[in-house]
Symmetry: C2
C-alpha cells in the first residue's frame, strides 16, 4: 500500500495475463471478461490485451471467495466498491459487515432447513427399509453400495451451492 517508487517491489509490480489467472484459479477467460463487464474487474491494457495487476488478482480472489460463500456478483461488486473507497472510509466497512451478517443468517436458516430435510429423509428411509426387509430383503442395499454413496467425491468439485 505504501510503496516506495524508488525501489519498486518486483512482486508488487508483477502483472498477469488472462491465461495465467485462469490457470491459477481454475476459471475461464470468459468468466474474467464477464466480471469485467459487470464492473468487478478493470485490468489495464497493452493495446487490446488485458494486463492484470496484483491488485486485480487480489480482487479476483475476493470474487471467487464471495461466490463460494453464495454471494451474487452484484453483492460482490458492492463490497469491492466499498473496499476501494475504503481509504479509511469506515462507513463502507460497516456496510460490508452488515452484508456478511445477513449472509450468515441466511446460511443458518438454510442449514436448519437442510437438517430437517435430512431428518425427514432418514425416517422415510427407515420406513422403506422395514418395508423391504419384509417383502424383498434381497433388494436391500449392501455395505458396498453405501460406501460409494457416502463419499462420491474427494475433490472440491461440488459447487458449494446447488447440487446437480
Amino acid at each position: 500500500m505504501t510503496a516506495d517508487y524508488r525501489r519498486p517491489d518486483i512482486r508488487l509490480s508483477r502483472t498477469f495475463t488472462i491465461r495465467q489467472l485462469t490457470r491459477e484459479f481454475g476459471c475461464t477467460p470468459r468468466a474474467l471478461r464477464f466480471y469485467e463487464d459487470k464492473g468487478l474487474l478493470a485490468p489495464a491494457r497493452q493495446g487490446l490485451n488485458r494486463v492484470y495487476s496484483y491488485r486485480d488478482r487480489a480482487r479476483l480472489q475476493l470474487i471467487l471467495r464471495g461466490k463460494r460463500v453464495g454471494l451474487s456478483l452484484a453483492d460482490i461488486r458492492d463490497i469491492l466498491d466499498l473496499y476501494d473507497k475504503d481509504d479509511g472510509g469506515a462507513a463502507q466497512s460497516a456496510k460490508a459487515l452488515r452484508k456478511f451478517r445477513e449472509r450468515i443468517a441466511a446460511f443458518e436458516r438454510q442449514r436448519e432447513d437442510i437438517d430437517s430435510a435430512i431428518a425427514e429423509l432418514r425416517t422415510a428411509c427407515e420406513r422403506l427399509e422395514r418395508q423391504l426387509a419384509e417383502s424383498r430383503p434381497d433388494l436391500l442395499p449392501k455395505a458396498e453400495d453405501y460406501d460409494r454413496i457416502v463419499r462420491p467425491s474427494v475433490d472440491g468439485r461440488h459447487e458449494a451451492i446447488g447440487l446437480k
Copy 2:
C-alpha cells in the same frame, strides 16, 4: 389415508383456494400455477378454478422446503413422485431408497459447504469488527440491529439463496 367416508373428517376434507395458499406460504399464484405446469401439483378443479386439497397443501410444503434447501423443481418432482408410488412394487421402493440415500449424502455435503462458508464469513466479520472498533466504534451494529438480522422473517419468505 384410510378415511372413513361415513364420518368425513372436516379437517382432512378441507380445501383451499389458490389465494389462501399463497397467503399462507407467502408465494404468488403464478408460482403455484408454475408448479402445476411442471407436474409438482395437480389440484382438482371446480369449473376452471383450482381447488387444493390438504394433500396438495402438504406437497406444497414439501416443495417449498425443497427449494429452501437448494433442490431444483425437477429434483423435488422426482422425490414427490417416489413418495406417491411407494405403495407400489418393491422394486420402486428400492429405487426410492437409493434416491433418498443419495439425497441425504448430497445434503450432508451441502451442509459442510455451508458450514465452511459460515466459518469464512465469521472470520471476515471479526476482522471488520476489530477494524471498526478502532476507527469508528459508533458504526458497530447494536444488539437491536442484530435481532432484526437474525430473525427477519418468521414465515417462509426467505429465498434460500441470494440476498438482495
